[in-house]
Structures are given as C-alpha cells and as structure tokens.
C-alpha cells in the first residue's frame, strides 16, 4: 500500500462574517489515491466546493482555513519523498502547485475563460507558467492538448476566442488547461452541471478516458449521484460541512448505511426514468451554517435518530466494514 496522493486531515474552513463564524467545512478528512477518482457528493451548500477551493487555498475572503492539514504526496518521479502540507506552504511555492501538480476545472465554462484572449493563448499561458519553454513550444503543446481533449478542428480553435465556442467545447478547453502541465490531481468542481445532458455524458467519458490514459487522479465534486455511479471509484457523502459516509462506489450504492445517504439514494428516480410511485424525499432542508444543530447535524431530519443522544455528541466516523466509513452509530452492514 503506497502513500495516498492527497490526504486531507480534519480540515476546518470558516467564513468570518458580520453574522458570526460560519464553519462551511468542519473537520473534513479525505484521502485520494494515485490514479483513482473520488466523488464528493452532497446538496448545495454542504461545503463541497469550499473543500475543493481549500485544497488550492483559493477560498476568497472572508473565508479562512482555520485548522487541518492538506498533505500532497511527492511527484510521480520522486515517490518516497515527504508529503507537502498545502495549508502552511508559502504563496510562491503554492503557485507552483496550482496548475503544476493540481489542475482545476470549474463549473461555469462560459465564464471561466478570459474573453479577450484566444483559446490557444490561454492554454499556452498555463504551460508557460510552469514549464521553461518558449512561446512556440507552448503553442505546440496547446495544440497537442486540444487534440487530447478531442476538440474538433483543433488547429482552427487555437486562434478562436471563447465566445466562438459552445459550452461543451469551452469545458474541453478548461480541461486542456487543467491538464496542461501533467498534474497528478485534477479537482473538478461540478464540471458538468452547466452543460446539457448529452454534453455531460461526453465530458464525463472524456474525464474517465484521460484518467485511464494519463493516470491522473480526479476529485469530482458533484450533486449528481448518477455522475458518481458512472465515473467514480470511491465516494464521500458530505452533509452540512462534514463527511457522513465514505466507501467504494459499488459498495455505497449497493449498501448505503448512513440515513442521509439512504435518503439521497431513495430520492432518485428508478432506472429508465420511470418511477414506481412518487419519489421519496428527505423532510426539511439543509440548514445554513449559522443554524447547524448540535451533535449529529442530520438528526432533525433523520428517521432513526434517538434523542437526546444524537443531539448530544458528534458521532464518530467508524469503519464498519473494510473501506466503508459511516458517521452514525445506529447502522450496521446487513451482510
């Protein structure tokens, strides 16, 4: 068992607003192994995007990483060297990591590209930021990357501006930028949410294929369980700033244990889109950070909660079967 590529330990990221301290991410621990895809799922506002932004320390003020460690393993050619803690890394060194060892893909391909520069310029810039190459070499690399992400007619696209491309094409360009310097990890923050369904499938297929070919690990952040089922090796389910369940994807879908995960999976339409009766829902809403309940944050909405225990203490994150962790003391695998 080799050391993981990225290990997040007890990450706390809070926003200090006039309304008080809002812990959007409250003690998240995650590990991503080399070449694997980890899906981070949860509803809007559960802290999954803030977790992603925290990895590269891109959380905008008034957000602050208060505690925790984000350990990035050594580069591929230096396995065995010590891991780097991104939380304490000085800004100039961090800039080498951003785009160099960790690439990022954003949700909105329509606005994630600079409108005044050509596609080729922007990919070449990402290369030039980290590689000691000339303009011509960077441009050649940009063309190679556009081929890699299967953009049609790459020679012409190189000199086009973002507004001339469709959403799916732009997202391919964003992926090309993220991959420009052969990163070990790509953080994809809802990369398909803004795209229509057929394009979504193409982009996911592309990501899966690139992972196979390049060996890049992917942290895929999404609220779409279907996306997770198709692309991820492992899944972590997040609720109100905490991870509530983590397991290999197949295991989680076959045997969800946390009441929240069970609720989420139950709220999906059946295969083929035909629902057998009305969809089940989880009662209530995700509370905003200033109203997080004490103890288990899911207990006000939970069907199996036992008061006052569930409201008294934060449940431990227990390994109930190998590789399957749950933050709920009342469920056991039904094997």
């Amino acid at each position: 068992m080799t050391a993981p590529l990225l290990e997040i330990r007890d990450l706390v990221t809070a926003f200090h607003t006039p309304a008080g301290r809002l812990p959007a991410v409250d003690g998240v621990s995650l590990t991503i192994d080399r070449g694997r895809t980890l899906g981070l799922v949860g509803e809007s506002g559960c802290g999954k995007s803030v977790t992603a932004m925290s990895i590269l320390r891109l959380v905008a003020a008034p957000g602050v990483i208060e505690s925790g460690r984000i350990l990035l393993g050594p580069p591929r050619d230096a396995v065995g060297a010590a891991a780097t803690d991104l939380v304490t890394l000085p800004e100039p060194r961090l800039r080498e990591i951003r785009g160099g060892r960790i690439g990022m893909i954003f949700q909105e391909p329509m606005t994630s590209l600079n409108p005044v520069f050509t596609v080729g310029d922007q990919i070449a810039e990402a290369v030039l930021l980290h590689r000691p190459v000339g303009r011509a070499a960077a441009r050649a690399r940009a063309l190679e990357l556009l081929r890699l992400v299967r953009l049609a007619d790459p020679e012409r696209r190189l000199d086009e501006y973002p507004h001339q491309l469709s959403g799916g094409m732009r997202q391919r360009v964003m992926i090309a930028i993220a991959l420009a310097c052969d990163p070990d990890l790509v953080v994809a923050d809802e990369p398909t949410t803004a795209l229509d369904v057929t394009i979504q499938a193409q982009i996911l297929e592309l990501l899966a294929e690139l992972r196979r070919r390049l060996g890049t690990a992917i942290l895929l952040i999404t609220h779409d369980l279907g996306v997770v089922a198709e692309t991820c090796d492992d899944v972590a389910v997040m609720y109100a700033g905490r991870i509530v369940e983590q397991a290999p994807a197949a295991r989680l879908f076959a045997n969800p244990l946390h009441p929240y995960t069970i609720g989420l999976l139950g709220a999906r339409p059946g295969r083929g889109g035909r629902a057998a009766g009305p969809l089940r829902t989880i009662p209530g809403m995700v509370p905003p950070p200033q109203l997080f309940p004490s103890g288990c944050r899911f207990h006000p909405r939970c069907g199996v909660a036992r008061l006052p225990d569930c409201a008294a203490a934060v449940p431990a994150f227990l390994e109930v079967e190998p590789g399957h962790f749950v933050r709920c003391p009342f469920t056991r695998p039904s094997t």
Partner: protein, 356 residues
C-alpha cells in the same frame, strides 16, 4: 457561426463602431484635427518647412513647436524671424519649401515680406479675404494661422491632461478594486477628496501664485483633478472582475497577482474606462478654452482658440473672431463626445447581447 472569422474583442468593437455613420464622421474629424495639429507649421507659417541655406538643409518650421528647435544659424545671421528676403539676400543659392499659407500665428505679416504681398490689415479692417481666409485680429495677425496652431494647443491639452488623468485613475482604481481592504478604503477616500476640488478654481489659484503660468501647468492641474471618474469606474470594474470565474481559473492555474491584474483584469476593464477618457478630452479642451476666454490662458502671443474668443470680446464688430474659433471649439467637443458615445455603444456588453 462556424464560418465567422476569428476576431478579438477590439476587432468586434471596431466593426460595430464603423457601422455608425455619426461615429465614423466624428472619428474622421478627430483624425483630421490630429493631422492639422501635427502638421500645423507646414499648413500656416512664415518659416520654411525645409530650406537649403549655405550648403545645408534645415527645417526652421519646427521652431513653431518650440523655440529651441529652430536652427541657431538663422539667429546668428540676424534673420529676425523673416525668412523670404533674408534667405535670398544672404545666400543666393538657397531654396525653400514654404507652408501652404504664408501667415504667422504670432505676428502680422509686413508689407512686401513676401514679394508683392501687402501688410495684413489691422484694427477691424481685416475681413476674411483671399490672403486672410478667416480675417485678421485687431493687431493684424491672421486668424486662420492662429486657429491652425491653436489646434495643436487644444489637442495637446486634451490628450496630455487626459493621459495623465487616465494613468492616475487606472492605478488608483485598480489598486483599490483589486486589493480591497484598507487599500480600497484609502484610495476611495482620496478619490472623494479630489472630487471635491473644483479644477478651474485650482487653476486660477495656481495662476495667481505662479510667476510664469504656461499651458503645461493647466494640463497638469486638469490631469491631477480629472482622474476621479476614471478611478471610480476602474475600481468598479476591478471589483467585478476580481470575483469573476476566469480570474479564479487563472489563480488556480498558478498565476501571480501582477499577471492577473495586467493580463486578466486590465484588458477586460479597459473598454469601459476608455469612454470617460474620450469625454474627458472634450471637457479638458473646453476647460482650457474657458480659461483663455477669461484671460487666464497662456500669455500672449498665444494661438489658443479661447484667447481668440477673448479678443473678440472687446471687438464685437469683428464677427469672424467669434464665428470661426467658436465653430471649431463646438465641432471638436461635439466630435469627441460622439466618438465617446460610439465607443460606449460598441463596447457595452449589454447592448451587444441585445443585438444578437
């Protein structure tokens, strides 16, 4: 869609701008003014554009831009500013290329200074005629020559003061908008303080203090007080763009703050900032003419359009002293405003989306 040629933002904006006849007309007029301003000594003057004197070639007309540019040899040989006779007398071999109109913006042309040409009429007798296209003022100085050379002053005031204002405004606004926090606090308060300073009053105060006020002092003060609007706009643009996804994407790709400001934010903020700069040029020209009209312009002999209007004040019967400079000021200010408006429409993304 697939066949549209690849064009950048500025090319798109340009294409939209040239579709508006009024804006194109104004742009052509501004271009014409710029040409007149640069070529003024070759259009009207009494110094040769080029001449050969004692075996060497000189360009004495440059003396109109600055005294030191006039070759020293002509002062040594006691030309005293009159070239045609002196050239012929002191070097029979000499030749010269003369300006289109042989008239001086700073003095009246004398009897026979140019062979067979009478002296400029003075004291209200100088109606527009063949030799004095726009007439002469009370001292006999040709109004056309004055106006041609006044173009240089007017445009210089507009461009230099707004160039200064744009530089200060963009720096202050960019710093405040990008870094936020106390930098923003400080720059916004400074902007508000400067905004309260009335530039004309400040200029009048400086003129009262300075021993020899020049046009450059006026430009400096107009520039040093005229940047507030640009700073506020730049700040707003930077605030908006700092939050934008592509700036976040650039940071995620490992770009440093300087690169993000210069490459990702500034080019996107420039278009909206260009519009107030254009309007600012118009108002700077207007401010300079107002000062000259009130008698606080550069000291005589000066060719400023405003000082022509000032001359007209005490000689109201000489209508040509009002009509020609007045029209020139009006058209110039109108042209800059039309260009500014055209730019605004061509670069405003909201209007662009609406057209699709």
């Amino acid at each position: 869609m697939s066949e549209t040629p690849s064009r950048g933002f500025w090319a798109e904006a340009w294409a939209r701008l040239v579709r508006k006849p009024l804006a194109v007309g104004a742009l052509c007029f501004v271009g014409l003014l710029a040409a007149v301003a640069v070529l003024a000594p070759a259009i009207a003057g009494t110094k040769p554009v080029l001449c050969r004197y004692k075996g060497r070639i000189y360009a004495p007309c440059l003396g109109y831009f600055h005294r030191s540019l006039e070759p020293a040899i002509f002062a040594r040989d006691r030309f005293r500013g009159t070239y045609p006779q002196n050239l012929r007398d002191k070097d029979p071999e000499s030749w010269a290329i003369w300006p289109l109109v042989f008239q001086d913006p700073y003095r009246a042309v004398r009897e026979n200074e140019w062979p067979g040409r009478p002296a400029n009429p003075a004291k209200g007798d100088g109606h527009p005629n063949r030799l004095n296209l726009f007439g002469t003022d009370q001292y006999g100085v040709d109004v056309f020559a004055k106006m041609v050379h006044g173009t240089t002053i007017a445009l210089l005031v507009g461009v230099v003061s707004m160039g200064l204002a744009a530089t200060i405004g963009i720096l202050v606004g960019a710093a405040g908008g990008y870094f936020g926090g106390w930098v923003d606090m400080l720059s916004s308060r400074v902007t508000e303080v400067v905004m309260c300073v009335p530039p004309l009053v400040l200029i009048l105060a400086f003129i009262a203090i300075l021993e020899k006020p020049t046009i450059w002092h006026t430009m400096a003060i107009l520039g040093a007080t005229g940047w507030t609007g640009i700073a506020r706009l730049t700040r707003g643009e930077f605030l908006r763009l700092r939050q934008s996804e592509f700036v976040m994407a650039a940071r995620a790709a490992g770009a440093g703050p300087l690169r993000i400001i210069l490459r990702h934010v500034l080019p996107n903020a420039l278009a909206p900032v260009l519009v107030p700069v254009t309007f600012g040029i118009a108002s700077a020209i207007l401010a300079e003419t107002s000062l000259s009209f009130l008698g606080f312009g550069p000291p005589p002999p000066s060719a400023s359009w405003g000082s022509l209007l000032n001359d007209a004040r005490s000689n109201l019967s000489m209508w040509w002293l009002v009509v020609f400079p007045g029209t020139a000021i009006f058209l110039t200010v109108l042209a800059y405003n039309l260009v500014g408006e055209g730019l605004q429409e061509a670069t405003d993304p909201r209007l662009r989306e609406a057209r699709k």
